[in-house]
């Protein structure tokens, strides 16, 4: 049975890759209207804390909690997005970074609700809940040839994989729709877009809150995968990491942040054997990348070339 060789550690790295892919797409959506946000770590924390509190204190079922967390982050995105319309470029980046930092200060100081700097522990973990549910009905993972911990990691991975595929598919479809074309027009030239009758306020706020909602979704999934959240998970480093996924991978096509998130999550793990140097290498990689390929690894010409060679091979 090939399943026996499943390594929970690899599955866990895989799960982090998938959560990061969703985060990468979240910043991509906001970027696709030309808005540079560093607030996605903050929106992620809203989703994570909301889901965690709902399930630990109010015994809300996990899927409902995840949905509520995502929606709450989306609403926060509208509330932050509307005043942010006045800002652009680095001003927007720093103001959203500020939003994240203020939110983190609140999470640390509002101890009665958030547990302060310690965070929230023993959040129901998706895999364990599924296993317990199955055990009640006479299912045992051994019947699949799996250890319990293998089954837990595998089910988390598969749920995240489904969520990620749905997310990417939705936004891939969106980018080819009227909304996606409006985003692209706004990104290229805001005034020209406005002159052609595109309601730019509406679309910019929409993109901003979509990004926020998606970050909250990733945060809620994160809370129920690791079963532990703390303010440390949503620092400046996280905000920058999310932005880097999109910029490194390429911010002009949705596959860019997907690739960026996957690559940049796996590299530090793969370099664990030289762990003292791995973030030094990570930093160097970013600089070299911007020097030699500032548009990111994946750009539309590359995708077109792949398509053409694919078609050539099949013809």
């Amino acid at each position: 049975m090939p399943l026996e060789g499943l390594n929970p550690y690899h599955l866990q790295v895989g799960s982090f890759v998938l959560i990061n892919v969703i985060l990468g797409v979240s910043i991509f959506v906001t970027l696709s209207t030309g808005q540079l946000s560093l607030g996605n770590a903050g929106f992620m924390s809203i989703g994570a804390y909301a889901a965690a509190l709902l399930s630990t204190q109010h015994q809300v079922p996990i899927p409902v909690g995840i949905l509520a967390g995502s929606l709450l982050a989306g609403v926060a995105g509208i509330l932050v997005g509307i005043p942010s319309l006045r800002l652009s470029g680095v001003y927007l980046a720093i103001a959203t970074l500020g939003f994240g930092e203020v939110l983190r200060a609140v999470l640390i100081n509002w101890e009665s609700l958030t547990g302060g700097a310690v965070g929230i522990a023993s959040i129901p973990q998706m895999g364990r809940v599924i296993l317990a549910w199955g055990r009640d009905r006479g299912f045992s993972p051994e019947s699949l040839g799996l250890q319990s911990n293998q089954f837990i990691s595998l089910s988390v991975f598969l749920i995240l994989l489904l969520c990620t595929i749905l997310t990417v598919a939705f936004f891939l479809r969106l980018s080819r729709s009227r909304v996606g074309r409006a985003y692209a027009a706004i990104r290229l030239d805001e005034r020209a877009a406005e002159a052609t009758g595109i309601p730019i306020t509406y679309f910019k706020v929409l993109a901003f809150s979509q990004g926020a909602l998606l970050s909250g979704f990733a945060g809620a999934l994160f809370a129920h995968s690791t079963s532990f959240v703390s303010p440390e998970d949503f620092t400046y480093h996280r905000a920058v990491e999310i932005l880097v996924f999109a910029v490194f991978g390429g911010s002009e096509h949705i596959l860019g942040p997907v690739f960026g998130a996957a690559f940049l999550t796996i590299v530090p793990e793969a370099l664990r054997s030289i762990s003292d140097y791995r973030y030094i290498i990570y930093g160097l990689l970013l600089v070299l990348m911007m020097v030699f390929r500032p548009q990111g690894v994946i750009d539309p010409p590359l995708i077109r070339r792949f398509r053409r060679s694919g078609r050539g091979a099949s013809a």
Binding site: I94, A95, V102, Y282, V287, M290, Q295
Partner: protein, 294 residues
């Protein structure tokens, strides 16, 4: 009590101002945010610390060492991470942001490797000397910090407004291409700006060591974030805005901690900028961006 807090606030604020100046100079000339500035500043602090603690050299030598080291880092930053991007047509403004973020991650982790993650005690030989001016107790360290910051700010303001090089730098900040056409060696001015900004970061690093008595490899980040908040608050690229913004932040942090809650201290900077940005998006001292004609 009030007056002593005032002195504390001004001391802290003048350090913030020096950190913010490093950001604002580079932004004024290059229109980019140098995310590595905080880490260069942190290296300045460590070089100063090593000179004082390992060789027992006097404080001025620590400043000199920190300035030389950070100036060299600024030169490398400009040559290796900024200029190659500038020479590429079509590179987005995100590219330089990410590139300097890369340098900051690199430096933070090199510092972690070299100095570890813990706090390092920064001992100033005259740390305990204090004197009374009327009812107010002032530490000599505070007076020295204030003096150095004021000298540095005055020197910079004078250099920018009076000297030939300062004029060239302002011209480059105004318009890179036009300055180039008028015979300013813009590449040289940019290099000079990054080097000067980094050296100021070095001085600020030693000042922070003196003020807080300890340093670690995270101070680059925390001070860097505040520096960023200040330049937004004061107006991007505005030298006087950075100075005023630094003082205002230092004072408000000190008073909030003294009379309110210390938990939100690090959030003050960002609450302030969010409010300012919503009321006056170009910052307190910033000029409204000229409408580009089409």
């Amino acid at each position: 009590m009030f007056l002593e807090q005032l002195v504390n606030g001004i001391t802290l604020g003048s350090i913030y101002a020096i950190v913010a100046l490093g950001y604002t100079l580079v932004f004024g000339v290059l229109d980019i945010i140098n995310m590595a500035h905080g880490e260069i500043f942190m290296f300045g602090a460590f070089v100063g610390l090593l000179i004082v603690s390992k060789t027992g050299a006097p404080l001025p030598l620590a400043f000199l060492g920190a300035v030389v080291a950070t100036a060299a880092m600024g030169l490398l930053l400009e040559r290796l991470a900024l200029r190659p991007l500038r020479d590429r047509p079509g590179a987005s403004h995100l590219a330089s942001l990410i590139s300097t973020i890369g340098v900051s991650i690199l430096l933070e982790n090199v510092a972690h490797k070299l100095f570890g993650a813990g706090n390092h005690l920064f001992e100033t030989p005259f740390a305990d000397i204090r004197f009374k001016i009327g009812p107010v107790t002032v530490y000599l360290v505070q007076a020295v910090i204030l003096l150095i910051s004021l000298l540095l700010m005055a020197g910079l303001a004078l250099w920018l407004s009076r000297s030939r090089a300062g004029k060239a730098l302002r011209a480059t900040a105004e318009n890179l291409e036009t300055a180039g056409l008028l015979g300013v060696d813009t590449n040289r001015m940019i290099t000079a700006t990054v080097v000067i900004a980094s050296a100021m970061g070095g001085v600020a690093g030693v000042l922070v060591g003196m003020a807080f008595n300890y340093i670690n490899n995270q101070i680059g980040l925390s001070m860097g974030l505040k520096g960023l908040a200040i330049i937004i608050f004061g107006g991007m690229g505005s030298v006087y805005g950075a100075m005023a913004g630094g003082l205002i932040l230092g004072l408000s942090e000190t008073f909030v901690v003294a009379y309110g809650s210390s938990g939100y201290r690090d959030a003050i900077a960002f609450v302030a900028i969010i409010v300012v940005l919503l009321i006056k998006p170009q910052g307190l001292f910033g000029q409204a961006p000229a409408e580009t004609g089409r």
